[in-house]
Symmetry: C2
Subunit: 289 residues, 2 copies
């Protein structure tokens, strides 16, 4: 899954001087902070004026863009960092202005729709979808931070007609932010992430709702239980969009989880200690692998 | 749920000088380390000779006990720290020798059986069950550490005939180790913990097994997913015992979780974004409370 390293042979030089970041939440804000720290001039837009003002006040962004995104024309790099159900609309809005950009990318947790949309917009040459496996349950500019992508895996998904040089450029961007890029087909990415990201997230949400049903509070939990319910504190808007966009793949993973849960309950009801032990031991084997 | 503070009015003086700790795993080992650090002479036994030797080599325990536990006769405090399905057997074994102990306690995650067992053994006057909400997925002496109980809630469960002075003594012990004691009836504890501890643990295990079914590895997960599967690395032996002993209460919690999961899948299949959003938002409301 790794991509070529050719684009980084000119070690040290960051490949962009002026970037436009659309959306200053946890991920977009952290991208803006990392870029600014590397001397990149960052223009930015956020539909929430308060996020934009906070980023200006913090000295991270050089100028704010207005809602037309017309000011993105000077940027060599455009990063769309909004919930996945809005990313395509933002891409449509910025595309006519982003004529100077050699790389346009996003940061969403689903990739098939945005890569297909970029192709339909005629952006194949310059668009590569990105999905950094970083962040936590918090959201907004106040949750963003320098170095968020250090050591994180970033999936890169290109269209069938996107040249390797554009993929390399995206890999350079993320390596420059300390991340580890891995290329994957967009449809494969969405099926894979339904298991590795969306499933754990929704299970955490279901656990929180179950505990609420049982009238238990988060402060009643031990350290393990608190870890298990941390993702339930994430943005409802962002996750509704992900669940809606990748519903079929997520449901397949949830069906497997429901099967495991039903099996465990059956063993519990039959007091089958030997089989229960095997389940715990199998889980530990997977954990230790 | 809080207990009286009278036992700690003589602030500073630790209420025991000689303790016997049976079982030197994560919890028992950490109790031994904390006691030794407070100047308590600790005698200990572990069925695994290597754990015992490691604790001796680390200078934490002053002497090892043999399997008869006869050497516990000098201890003012006896702590039984073995998996819950073995705790009663150990209690039976140590009781005839623990004649000098003013407090006998355990550290298991279920309490009804051990409190009833202690009563049956005639230990009502001196036994209080303890359940510290501390630790992680690791096990054995090598996982034990100083200060593990700092700030942790510890449930204390006494029998109907156990005097308040014994409960106070147990509260003093745990406060002396930095923990926050809370008294609860044993049967109520077991029902409560089925939700706040056993449910998250088993959900983590189910998630790990589901990911294994989908041929996903733990290294494919982001930071949130790794947190969600950490508890799956726990001791299979310990958790089989807990699941077996508290099966009915755990199954009630798992039934609620299965209901939430089925409901979510239904909404996903019907692409009901509004209801999905409400579920994510409700979970976040619970998280933020």
């Amino acid at each position: 899954m790794s991509v070529g390293t050719s684009a980084m042979t000119d070690a040290g030089r960051f490949p962009f001087e002026h970037a436009a970041v659309i959306g200053l939440g946890l991920i977009g804000g952290s991208v803006a902070r990392d870029l600014a720290a590397r001397g990149v001039r960052v223009s930015a837009y956020d539909a929430d004026r308060r996020q934009l003002d906070a980023a200006l006040a913090d000295g991270v962004i050089a100028e704010s863009l207005d809602a037309t995104l017309a000011g993105a024309q000077a940027a060599e790099l455009v990063v769309v960092a909004v919930p996945v159900d809005r990313a395509l609309g933002v891409l449509e809005r910025v595309a006519p202005h982003a004529l100077g950009a050699s790389l346009i990318t996003d940061v969403g947790s689903t990739k098939a729709a945005i890569v297909a949309g970029a192709t339909a917009l005629g952006l194949s040459d310059r668009f590569v979808g990105s999905h950094p496996m970083a962040g936590d349950h918090r959201s907004g500019w106040s949750a963003s931070r320098l170095g968020l992508f250090e050591g994180a895996r970033v999936y890169l998904c290109r269209g069938d007609e996107t040249p390797a040089s554009t993929l390399d450029r995206a890999a350079s961007l993320w390596r420059g932010l300390g991340a580890v890029p891995a290329s994957m087909r967009a449809d494969e990415h969405d099926r894979h992430l339904a298991w590795t990201s969306h499933l754990p997230h929704i299970i955490s949400t279901m656990l929180a709702l179950t505990l609420a049903d049982g009238r238990m509070r988060r402060e009643d939990l031990g350290p393990g239980g608190r870890d298990m319910t941390r993702l339930a504190g994430s943005s409802a808007e962002m996750w509704t969009a992900i669940a809606s966009e990748n519903g079929a793949a997520i449901d397949a993973a949830l069906a497997a989880a429901a099967g495991r849960l039903a099996e465990f309950r059956d063993l519990l009801q039959r007091s089958d200690a030997e089989s229960l032990h095997r389940r715990f031991a199998d889980a530990r084997t997977w954990f230790d692998a």
